[in-house]
Each structure stands twice: as structure tokens, then as C-alpha cells.
């Protein structure tokens, strides 16, 4: 301060406050003394003094104004943030099971309708008493699992879309009037991605089998159909809940997302991917199948003891040749195999807001070699959900990119205003585009000349893989099919599993075919 004080002595603007009498302005003689004193105190001190010298016009009020602006800015930012948080509806927290406010609205709102993408109501509230509403499901059993129920607990869409169904974005004045009249407001309508016709086809095609069907759009992750059997009547669930809960067939379980099945030969897709990754020269693979083989002391046979003769990887895939697969798998690296499986989301959480099970892959670097043969053909301890199997085949169809599967397309207020639109999102790149392309070629082979040839020679092109998974001694195999269509620019991916139904090609492929047909009839 002093330095500045001295230098600017002659100028007019000096306003440095010296409040106490003791510090009265120095007279000229003292000033000289101070100047000397500063020099004595060294260069650094001088510099620092210069830096912190008070401003020329030392009017505190101006600085106070600056402080006011500074805080105004802080609070405008804060208020903007709060407004943004509240104004953008539907955050990840809305449907969280940790939110104790999930049920708070049921007393003041009528839960909204759930509709399919083709505008068919699949869940609605109907008046059941003076002030009571209960849920009604016009499609009855067909959508039982995926739509779920709203009882003591909730499941399916009834749970995951609960937040939106109990919100109302209809006319504000209408809502206030309803409030005043002590009448409940109608919640918003949730349009799901589900397609009524596809669901119906899948439901009927699965027929009396237990099992599940999942239909997805590979490029968006939209779930078009999701069937699980045995089913239940959601309209009578409150009466039957006890019984269903104890049910041996666990009819309440959504097998599409929660059922854990041995993937059988559909898992050869994963094995093939791992083989391609580990062996750049995989196209040179060749094996002569004689029906049975023993590898690492494990005896493996091809379905029906068929000898497939000389096959490369295409042939092995097309005919689902177990012997060829256990042979090529015997050289695979366990740790790397696990890594590939986990990249494809086995052992991992799935990005879906439904009750689901994690698929299981148990091999790791320490597993004995004798585990490999069974694992490579999808037997052994590997278990998968139909949903994940569908997601994997969808990723192949979508150039290796796994989309986040979703069931809610958009939300509309009861008077028809769009409230929120859900958009497709990439979940992960689970394989390279090149790998996806090679796997697609393998799967095309399955349709052209292999176990899924029932899909060949049709108007549209298909790719897929069948499976016949053994699960219990002396019982029929589970019939699997995973596949997509068309091969170029795929629009639909399907996963079918029918429990104890026999072979994939004889049971699962025809079911899938019906679904594909319905899809193409609807989307000409």
C-alpha cells in the first residue's frame, strides 16, 4: 500500500482509508522515511505490496454490489438446476424400488392405461366401488407376465411404468377441479413397445408348451413380444394369488426374463465367436464327424448319433455338430472364453427394468479341462435366460452393438398430450462389426442347409440357430431357436424356447416361423 501511496501521491484519486487517528496521513518528512523502510524490506515485499495495494477508488459499496451480483449468479444457477430437475419428468429414480413414494399416488390417482404399440388397451382401471378402482386386463392371459399385476407387490410393466401411470399431465385446471371435488385424477397412458398381433401369434404358437418367447427389434432394443407359459389370469389374480404362489410350475414367474435354461446348441454361437477370436485362421478348420467322440475322457455324441462327415465351421454350425464343436473348443482358453461370455452379459446385470435373472457361466481359468466339452455345446453348468439369448442374437443382427431392451415407448396424458418419449440407446458394443458379420454368415448357413432349413426358400431371408438342450435324464430336450430376419438390415429378432418339447428344428423353428410370418404380414 505504501508504495502505491507514495507513487501516486500527486494524483487526485487517493482514497485510502486510514480510519484511526493514530494513522493520520504521514507528513512529507515521514514519508521519505517510510520509503527507505520499504527498500530495506526487500524486493519481494515491495512486489507483494504492489499486488495487494488497495484499489484506486476505495469505495466499498461498489465491491458490495459485485458481491450481490456474484450471489445472484449462484442462486440463479441453483434455481435453474432445481427447475430443470423438476421439469424434466422421468428420471432414473422415478421407478426405483428404493422410492417409498411409489404407492403414495394410488390414493389420489386413477392408475393410467397401458396400451400396445398398435393402440390396444392391455391394462386399465375400472371403477369397483364408490371411490375404488381395480385393474382390469382386457387381453387376459396373453400379456399376463409382461404387463404383470398390481397387488400387494407389483410386477412387469405395472411395476416398471408405475411412476408414469400414477402421474397426470392432463389439463391443470381440470386436475385442480377434480382435487376440489375430491375426485381422483386419471393417470397418464403408457404406450408399450409391445405389438398385439405378434404377442398373440407368439402366445398361440407356443400352444400348450411351457416356455417363453421374446421378440425384439435388433436396431432399437424395442421388445415387440414377450410370452411366458404357464400363465395366469391377471383378472383373477387376487383370488388365486395364494395358489399361484405355491404353484409347482411357478406360473407367476416370467420365464422370458427369469427362466434359467441350459442354452444347448444355441450356445455354439458364443463358442464360435470365441474360436474366431482365438484363431485367425478359423476358416481352415476341418473335422470329420463319425457320430461320437471321446475328448478329455468325456464321451460326446451328435444328436441321433448322426455322422456328419467332413465339416468346416460353417458345416459344424449348420448341422449343429457336437463332435466338431468339442474338438475345436478343446484348444480354447478358459479365461478368455469367460471374458467373451461376460462381454455378452452372462454373469452380468441386464439393463432392463423388469424382474430378471442373471445368466450363468461358471468356467474360469482354474476349471478342469473336462468341463470344456459340455460347456462348448451349451450343456454343463451354463444357464441362460431367453431374454439374454435374444439380446445376443440381436447384437449379431445389429453389427455387434447391443441395444438397451425397453418396453415403454412413450407416455401420453389422458387427454392426448405427449408427456415423454423413450428413445433407443446403445448399451454396449459386445463384438466387432466384423465378428458380427462372420457370425451372421454362420447363422445363414444354419437356415440354408442346416437344422433351421424350414426357414429357407421363403420370401425373406433368415439367420438363426436351433438348440435341443438336455436337462434331465430320460426327458425330452428343451427346444430352442434364436434368429433374425432379414439378414441384411434386420428388423426382427426372435428367441423361442419350448420346455420338454423335443428338438429345436422340429418344434421351436415352426413357432418362430409363425412369428416371422405375422411380422411380415403386418409390415409389408
Amino acid at each position: 500500500m505504501k508504495i502505491w501511496d507514495n507513487k501516486k501521491q500527486e494524483q487526485n484519486e487517493i482514497n485510502v482509508p486510514l480510519p484511526t487517528k493514530r494513522e493520520e496521513k504521514p507528513k512529507r518528512k515521514e514519508k521519505g522515511a517510510k520509503e527507505r523502510k520499504d527498500r530495506k524490506e526487500g524486493f519481494l515485499y515491495t512486489c507483494l505490496s504492489w499486488l495487494v495495494r488497495p484499489a484506486k477508488q476505495l469505495r466499498l459499496n461498489r465491491q458490495i454490489l459485485v458481491v450481490a451480483y456474484f450471489f445472484a449468479f449462484l442462486f440463479v444457477a441453483l434455481m435453474g438446476y432445481i427447475t430443470y430437475y423438476v421439469a424434466i419428468p422421468g428420471k432414473e429414480d422415478a421407478t426405483s424400488s428404493y422410492n417409498p413414494r411409489k404407492n403414495i399416488f394410488s390414493e389420489r390417482m386413477i392408475k393410467g392405461e397401458i396400451k400396445t404399440a398398435d393402440d390396444k388397451t392391455i391394462a386399465k382401471s375400472v371403477k369397483s366401488g364408490k371411490d375404488d378402482y381395480s385393474r382390469s386386463y382386457p387381453a387376459e392371459r396373453m400379456f399376463a407376465h409382461v404387463v404383470g399385476y398390481d397387488l400387494y407387490g407389483k410386477s412387469g410393466l405395472e411395476a416398471s411404468a408405475n411412476y408414469y401411470l400414477y402421474r397426470s399431465h392432463s389439463n391443470v385446471f381440470g386436475r385442480i377441479i377434480n382435487d376440489l371435488r375430491d375426485e381422483k385424477n386419471q393417470g397418464d397412458t403408457v404406450y408399450s413397445t409391445l405389438d398385439y398381433d405378434l404377442q398373440q401369434t407368439a402366445y398361440n404358437a407356443l400352444g400348450g408348451y411351457k416356455g417363453a418367447v421374446v421378440v425384439m427389434e435388433p436396431q432399437t432394443g424395442k421388445i415387440l413380444a414377450m410370452v411366458s407359459k404357464p400363465d395366469f389370469n391377471p383378472n383373477a389374480i387376487s383370488e388365486n394369488y395364494e395358489m399361484l404362489n405355491k404353484d409347482e410350475d411357478s406360473a407367476l414367474l416370467n420365464r422370458a426374463t427369469q427362466g434359467l435354461y441350459p442354452p444347448g446348441s444355441t450356445f455354439k454361437i458364443v463358442t464360435a465367436l470365441e474360436y474366431i477370436r482365438e484363431n485367425p485362421k478359423w476358416k481352415k478348420f476341418s473335422y470329420t464327424c463319425e457320430g461320437t467322440t471321446t475328448i478329455d475322457h468325456v464321451r460326446i455324441k451328435c444328436a441321433g448319433n448322426t455322422a456328419h462327415g467332413r465339416v468346416d465351421l460353417y458345416g459344424a454350425m449348420a448341422h449343429s455338430c457336437n463332435n466338431a464343436f468339442v474338438t475345436l473348443a478343446s484348444g480354447l482358453d478358459f479365461a478368455s472364453f469367460r471374458k467373451t461370455a461376460e462381454q455378452l452379459q452372462l454373469n452380468q446385470k441386464l439393463p432392463i427394468n423388469l424382474e430378471y435373472s442373471k445368466s450363468r457361466f461358471v468356467l474360469d481359468g482354474k476349471s478342469p479341462a473336462s468341463e470344456m466339452p459340455q460347456t462348448s455345446i451349451g450343456q454343463g453348468d451354463t444357464l441362460m435366460t431367453p431374454l439374454l439369448n435374444c439380446m445376443i442374437v440381436s447384437s449379431i443382427a445389429n453389427d455387434g452393438v447391443m441395444m438397451t431392451p425397453y418396453l415403454t415407448d412413450y407416455v401420453e396424458s389422458s387427454d392426448g398430450k405427449l408427456v415423454k418419449k423413450f428413445t433407443p440407446s446403445i448399451y454396449k458394443e459386445v463384438m466387432t462389426e466384423n465378428e458380427a458379420e462372420e457370425l451372421t454368415k454362420l447363422l445363414v448357413k444354419v437356415v440354408k442347409e442346416g437344422s433351421a432349413s424350414a426357414l429357407s426358400g421363403l420370401r425373406h431371408s433368415y439367420a438363426g440357430k436351433t438348440g435341443s438342450a438336455e436337462h434331465q435324464e430320460g426327458r425330452n430336450t428343451h427346444a430352442w431357436f434364436v434368429g433374425f430376419s432379414p439378414v441384411k438390415n434386420p428388423k426382427i429378432a426372435v428367441c423361442v424356447i419350448a420346455e420338454d418339447a423335443g428338438s429345436g428344428s422340429s418344434v421351436a423353428v415352426p413357432i418362430a416361423k409363425k412369428i416371422f410370418t405375422t411380422y411380415y404380414e403386418k409390415n409389408k
Partner: protein
């Protein structure tokens, strides 16, 4: 019938709060006294109506006769405060008094809703007791002028106060910043704050010599360090910012403020590396959903966000939500409870009233004659407002949680007492500023002195 009243009062309260907010800004420009008087009367009526309808709501909901008496007691107290400040202390800021009452009403209503027995009654007793004692403060400030000169009593006293936690300290919420004397827990840092501001104001108003600045800065840094070691991060941050702002205003050098902020940012990075509790707080801020389970603090912030999101614009209505699911909702998280039940429009109004309150502080600072008064009022304003920012910013996930209370609204003896003291001293400064016409406008005086010198 009850339902209609509940719904109507719900909307009415939002309108009243908005009307109050409006008047709290209308009163700033220089208005003709008649108009000003009318506005003040309107503001006070709005406040009383808001208080009445909130309590009506509570009484209807809880159906408890005690609440009627409680309402009566509060009403008497409010009328007393309005009367006392208007007639005994002429020249104090009526707007500051009203704003103080508004916060108290909002706080008491929410605490009554959360639990009359556990929080509201205690809070009310604290408020009344503190208020009556602090009524004397403006008077004493005027009569005993020695308080302006005892710089080092403040400097050392503040440290002694903070040091009490070393002797009587008890740990709460992961920080050792509470003391327990005869079963009463207090938070010394709440009071040290005031002493600290008085100290800094004394120092900076007397001399701006480099040597003195260095000493002052060193002592301020020692305070902050002490608080950091006590793990009272919120208080440390408040002390830090208050000092920087006061230094800036006193010297007029923005560079000082900026370099201080840069140093502070550096210190924050070091603190993040050194202390696990800082890391937890930051992690819980970054992605609370990832650590919603366990004791990472994610659960608390998620519950707070649920509450705010569910409340939406108009709120669920007083007594209609479930704010008790938020841990420590009565204290640090009371803002979320307000957002849930009164709605976002209401809490935005509340924030604006806080801003209005800051403007009153700054107005007091601008009007005050002496540099010291200016700096004290400014320091209090910044301290008060920055605490509001830390609290609200924390519970809405705008910034990491720092564990500070919402002044006058959160439940807490020390918090309420210290804020009431800050208000009382500021009123005293208003009074001194209005009466000390003699040394009014020191800046101008200096300008004249400067001209003279030439």
C-alpha cells in the same frame, strides 16, 4: 369438507408465499413512506395468513388440541416481534424482521408436521429464548462502543470456542464438531463464525498494510485448517468464502479473491486425496444411485431427490407426503421435505426470500457509516447466504453435501441461536448506521480528505 380445505389451503399457501416473495422485493427501491408503509402492512398480513392456513392444515390433519395452543403461542410471539422492533427499535430494518419471521414460520410449520413433540416445541422455545436475549444486542451495541476495539479478544476467543470440542467434543454424523455440556449439545463453530467475522472486520477496517493482511490471512487460514481437522467441512468452507469476500471488498482487488479461490481449489483437491470422508461425499454427489446401498451417503441423497421429484411443482400437500423416509430430514434435509409437500414453486419462492434477505444485509452494509460496520454486515450476509447455498445445493445434488443446516428453518439449537444473533447484530448495525449521521458516508469523507491533501 376437510379435504376441500386441505386442497384449497395447499394452493393458497403457494399463492401467499409467492405474494410474500413479491413484496420482499418490492420494498427495495426508495418508495414514498406512505406506499412503503402500505407494502409492509400487506407483507405482514400475507405472512400471518400463511401462518394461519398452514396451522389450520396441521390442526385438521393431526386433530390435536395442543396444536391450537401452539399456534396461539406462535401468533403472540410473531405479533410481539413485529411490534417490538417497530416501536422499540425505530430505524431497524422491518424487512429483515419480516423475513426472519417468514423463515421461522416455514421452519416451525414443517417441524410441527414432522413431529410436534420431538422438534417443533423445542425449536420454538429456543427461538423465543434466544430472541428475547438478543433483543438487547442492538441496545448494547449502541451503548457500549468498546466492542469495536477488542480485535484480539475476538481473534483468540474464536479459537478458544472452537477448541472446546477438544475437551467436550462428541462425534455426530462423522464430524467431531459438537460439544456436550450438561446434556445440552451445541455446535461451537456456529458461534465461532460470528466471532470470526467480527475479528476479520476489525482487522480489515483498521489497516490494509501488507504485513497486517498477511497476519490476518494466516489467522483465517488457521481457523479453516482447524475446522478441516475437526472434519467440519461445511463450516470450513463458509469461513473460507466469508474471508475471501471480506478481503475482496476491503481491498477492492478481485485478483485477491480469484487467487484465493484458486488456492482453495488446490486445497480441495488435496483434501479429496487425503480424507476418505471427503471422497465419500464427492462420490455420493457424482452418482448416488450407484451407492444407494450401504453407508456411502447415496441413500440419503437419493431419498431427497425422490422427495423433490415426487413433490413436483405444487407439492403433495402438507402432511400428504412421506418426508420422514429421508434421513435427518428435520435438520439438513428439511428443504427436501418442503419441496415434497409445498412443491417446487414454493421452495423457489423461499430461495428468493433468502436472496431478498441477502440484499437486506448488503443494504445494511452499504448504508452503514463505518468501514467496520460495512464489513460486519457484509460478512454476515455472505455467511448466511453461502450457508443457504451449501445446504440447498447439497440436498438437490447441485454440489456435494457439506452437512450444514438451512438457517432458521432446520431444527437445531446452535444453528437457530447463531442465526438469530447474526440478525440481531445486523439490526444493531442498521440502527447505528441510521443514527451515526455524523460519520455517515465515510467513503465520501475520504474522497474529500484526498482532495484536501492536494
Amino acid at each position: 369438507m376437510v379435504h376441500i380445505i386441505l386442497v384449497l389451503t395447499g394452493y393458497l399457501n403457494i399463492i401467499l408465499a409467492a405474494a410474500y416473495t413479491l413484496t420482499s422485493f418490492q420494498l427495495f427501491p426508495d418508495l414514498p413512506p406512505k406506499r412503503k408503509k402500505k407494502l409492509f402492512r400487506r407483507q405482514e398480513h400475507t405472512l400471518l395468513q400463511f401462518h394461519f392456513f398452514c396451522n389450520l392444515n396441521l390442526i385438521l390433519l393431526q386433530q390435536d388440541v395442543k396444536l391450537i395452543y401452539f399456534y396461539g403461542a406462535q401468533l403472540l410471539f410473531i405479533l410481539f416481534v413485529m411490534f417490538a422492533y417497530r416501536h422499540i427499535y425505530k430505524g431497524t430494518s422491518r424487512l429483515l424482521t419480516n423475513n426472519m419471521l417468514f423463515f421461522m414460520v416455514v421452519g416451525l410449520v414443517m417441524l410441527t408436521r414432522l413431529s410436534y413433540k420431538d422438534y417443533a416445541l423445542n425449536q420454538f422455545i429456543t427461538i423465543v429464548a434466544c430472541f428475547l436475549v438478543f433483543m438487547l444486542v442492538p441496545l448494547l451495541m449502541k451503548m457500549l462502543r468498546f466492542w469495536e476495539r477488542i480485535t484480539w479478544v475476538y481473534g483468540i476467543g474464536g479459537f478458544l470456542l472452537l477448541a472446546t470440542v477438544l475437551v467436550f467434543g462428541v462425534e455426530e454424523y462423522g464430524a467431531t464438531n459438537w460439544i456436550s455440556i450438561a446434556g445440552v449439545t451445541l455446535q461451537p463453530s456456529e458461534f465461532a463464525k460470528i466471532i470470526f467475522i467480527l475479528f476479520i472486520a476489525c482487522r480489515l477496517s483498521k489497516s490494509l498494510e501488507l504485513k497486517d493482511l498477511i497476519i490476518t490471512t494466516a489467522i483465517a487460514a488457521a481457523y479453516v485448517l482447524f475446522l478441516v481437522l475437526e472434519r467440519d467441512l461445511g463450516a470450513a468452507l463458509i469461513f473460507f468464502i466469508v474471508y475471501l469476500v471480506m478481503l475482496y471488498v476491503a481491498t477492492g482487488r478481485l485478483t485477491l479473491f480469484i487467487s484465493g479461490m484458486v488456492a482453495g481449489a488446490g486445497a480441495a483437491v488435496v483434501a479429496y486425496q487425503l480424507f476418505t470422508h471427503v471422497q465419500t461425499r464427492v462420490n455420493a454427489w457424482r452418482d448416488p444411485w450407484a451407492i444407494i446401498d450401504g453407508d456411502g451417503g447415496g441413500y440419503q441423497i437419493c431419498q431427497s431427490l425422490f422427495a423433490i421429484g415426487t413433490g413436483s411443482w405444487f407439492g403433495l400437500g402438507l402432511g400428504q407426503g412421506v418426508p420422514n423416509t429421508i434421513p435427518v430430514v428435520y435438520s439438513d434435509f428439511i428443504f427436501s421435505a418442503l419441496a415434497e409437500e409445498f412443491g417446487t414453486i414454493f421452495v423457489l419462492c423461499l430461495i428468493l426470500v433468502f436472496v431478498s434477505c441477502l440484499l437486506v444485509f448488503l443494504d445494511a452494509s452499504m448504508r452503514a457509516g463505518k468501514r467496520m460496520y460495512k464489513l460486519i454486515a457484509l460478512g454476515f450476509g455472505v455467511c448466511f447466504m453461502f450457508q443457504v447455498f451449501l445446504n440447498i445445493g447439497g440436498v438437490v445434488k447441485f454440489i456435494p453435501l457439506t452437512g450444514v443446516t438451512l438457517p432458521l428453518i432446520s431444527y437445531g439449537r446452535s444453528s437457530v441461536a447463531s442465526v438469530l444473533l447474526i440478525f440481531a447484530i445486523t439490526q444493531g448495525i442498521y440502527l447505528l448506521g441510521q443514527n451515526d449521521e455524523g460519520d455517515m458516508n465515510e467513503d465520501m469523507g475520504q474522497q474529500e480528505a484526498g482532495t484536501e491533501r492536494n
